[in-house]
């Protein structure tokens, strides 16, 4: 396999096709529309299901229906569209159905703008719908990682019977870079034993999220919590750069994490003991590794393209061991490496490094 120059949205779409996507339902919204456009042709070509829904509300409920059949199903949208999908996402969680949702985040609140943003960190990790659950959230920082995470997303969704969100920002969706696509996987053949297919020569099956009795609803919730605990244990993912002897630990995800990498490199060149941790999973948050690194570091700087939403998770992971500072841009502004470098130097100068 060789690398080709690929645009993020198209790469995600093709990666989904190759991961065995059987049905896609979506609605146009910048900056993810190319994904839908690409699949409109590609899925039809392959005789798989593609449908442009009348709204994101309908799209997610089509996903809900198609997921009931045990198929690999996906939708994609961007921030305002994901807001509309939250009802359906909650039902999907309440019915324990696997599916993949791509969120190419843009500036908000409201209609906001179409620039890259990470302002929906809370939305994807905390409030992906009413009720007590978290989706699995993967945050790619490059086109290649987006491709790799699509395959992972489907596998995790099937493994845990849970929804997986691919939380990319507009930058990942829109930029082109060399990347390698995986080979085409065959469509999965075996239908899971909970799927709706028509009650032929078997008992009928029911998929519902309704548990009228408090005890039953609680039992179901405990079951989901057990699953989420398992996910939390198994699936925390992050990558690191120069953390071995880091006094200042920089943490950033997605595009912000990638730019922070350049800033950390520059800081190292200046002789500062700075390292980077980039969470790849936003939920489960890589709290184990962050806590370990906090044991050796003297301070932490969080960099985001929002007003500091992930700071809460970092603080929880660190548990007050070391001070946590924040640098971020909002409104769709992507921070420059030298801005982050300045923030690093500022935080670094305030560290009380033990000698």
């Amino acid at each position: 396999m060789t690398k080709e120059l690929l645009k993020g949205n198209i790469a995600i779409a093709e990666a989904a096709v190759r991961a065995g996507l059987e049905a896609y339902f979506g609605y146009p919204i910048t900056p993810q529309t190319e994904l839908l456009e690409y699949l409109s042709q590609r899925m039809t070509e392959l005789d798989r299901v593609f449908l442009q829904a009348e709204s994101e509300v309908a799209a997610i409920n089509m996903v809900y229906g198609a997921a009931c059949t045990g198929a690999r199903v996906m939708t994609s949208s961007s921030s305002p569209g994901v807001s509309l999908m939250q009802e359906g996402m909650s039902y999907i969680a309440g019915s324990e159905l696997p599916c993949v949702i791509v969120d190419v985040m843009r500036g908000g609140p409201g209609l906001g703008n179409i620039l890259p943003s990470q302002a929906d960190y809370f939305q994807v990790t905390r409030s992906a719908g009413h009720g007590d659950f978290h989706p699995i959230v993967l945050a790619p920082a490059s086109v290649q990682e987006a491709i790799d995470f699509v395959g992972l997303a489907f596998d995790l969704a099937d493994k845990y019977r849970h929804m997986v969100l691919l939380a990319a920002d507009g930058q990942i969706g829109q930029m082109m870079e060399p990347a390698e696509l995986p080979p085409m996987r065959p469509l999965q053949k075996n239908v899971p034993d909970w799927a709706l297919t028509g009650a032929k020569a078997r008992e009928k099956r029911v998929i519902t999220s309704l548990y009228l009795k408090g005890e039953e609803e609680e039992a179901f919730n405990l079951k989901i919590q057990k699953k989420l605990k398992q996910i939390k244990k198994n699936e925390q993912r992050s990558v690191e750069y120069a953390t071995e002897d880091a006094e200042l630990l920089v943490i950033g995800f997605g595009t912000a994490g990638r730019i922070a990498y350049s800033a950390v490199e520059a800081a190292r060149e200046k002789g500062l003991r700075v390292g980077l941790l980039r969470p790849q999973t936003l939920w489960p948050f890589p709290e184990r590794r962050i806590s370990e690194l906090a044991d050796q570091a003297s301070g932490c700087l969080v960099v985001e393209m929002n007003a500091g939403q992930m700071v809460e998770d970092v603080r929880l992971a660190i548990g007050g061991q070391i001070p946590v500072t924040f640098y971020g841009r909002t409104g769709g502004i992507v921070p420059m490496p030298d801005e982050i470098l300045a923030a690093i130097e500022e935080s670094y100068s305030r560290l009380q490094i033990a000698v």
């Binding site: 009348e54 409920n61 198609a66 297919t197 028509g198 020569a201 009928k204 099956r205 998929i207």
Partner: protein, 259 residues
């Protein structure tokens, strides 16, 4: 032993439909949701569809429809059954996908979803229970509530100047090219119930033949929230609902005759 054996001249004229689960329902006494269930189950049986059917239950008094039918089933968010059914049908084109929805569900919160399945000619069948009220939440005004009708959220009677007039959804949906069979029937007496059964059979056949979207609207009673005794509630359908919602065939695809 001999005493309990049926004499040879007796024959079975009515059986519990196989597709109807033998469980108590949560419907109020005299509610015609039960009749609609029986008709649908009989139609599924008669067409041999029990093993192919996938039912989408709504949010409303019939939310537990998935317990009452012996077919594969799921439960949609309020108003979204048509979208969910779309996802199911696209994945299971050989199955028979049925939504069962109330008037609040279908005409109010789910107005967009039902219009778009009709527009796309989605090969699904909808059983639409119009009881002119939000039954499950305790009798609030629906878009189908009659002018002057008292509900818990229109205690002085529906004022059409402020809240609009009833939406006749069968007439609306008949406008879409993708709609193959759209009819309204009533459940207030035996003759009409028989017609309703026939319509449900036809609607399912329309789906089997892949002609497009099919829907049977059924005028149905809600004695509890109308505050009327069950028998009187049937009269109320005839006297008050039928003038607003005339039973009839609003869209019948040419090929329906051949079914």
């Amino acid at each position: 032993m001999d005493l309990v054996m049926a004499p040879p001249e007796m024959q079975v004229v009515y059986e519990h439909p196989r597709s109807l689960a033998d469980v108590p329902t949560r419907y109020c006494p005299g509610c015609t949701h039960g009749i609609a269930h029986r008709l649908l189950a009989e139609a599924i049986d008669e067409l041999g569809l029990q093993e192919r059917a996938v039912l989408v239950a709504p949010v409303g008094c019939s939310v537990f429809a998935y317990e009452y039918f012996n077919v594969d089933a799921c439960q949609a968010a309020h108003g979204r059954a048509p979208a969910m059914a779309t996802g199911l049908k696209r994945m299971l084109p050989e199955n028979i996908v049925i939504t069962y929805q109330g008037d609040g569900d279908l005409v109010s919160i789910g107005a967009a979803e039902i219009m778009h399945v009709a527009a796309r000619g989605e090969r699904i069948t909808t059983i639409f229970i119009n009881n002119a009220i939000y039954g499950m939440t305790g009798g609030q005004m629906a878009p189908t509530t009659l002018p002057g009708q008292k509900t818990t959220s229109s205690p002085l009677g529906r004022d059409t100047r402020r809240t609009g007039a009833p939406i006749r959804m069968s007439e609306v949906l008949a406008q879409f090219d993708g709609a193959a069979y759209i009819v309204r029937r009533s459940l207030h007496d035996v003759a009409n119930i028989r017609k309703a059964k026939k319509a449900i059979l036809t609607a399912l056949k329309v789906q089997m033949a892949g002609l497009g979207f099919s829907m049977v609207e059924l005028l149905s009673s809600c004695p509890t929230n109308w505050g009327i005794a069950p028998e009187k509630a049937l009269d109320w359908i005839e006297q008050n609902m039928i003038p607003q919602f005339p039973p009839g065939d609003y869209k019948v695809h040419d090929a329906v005759k051949t079914l």
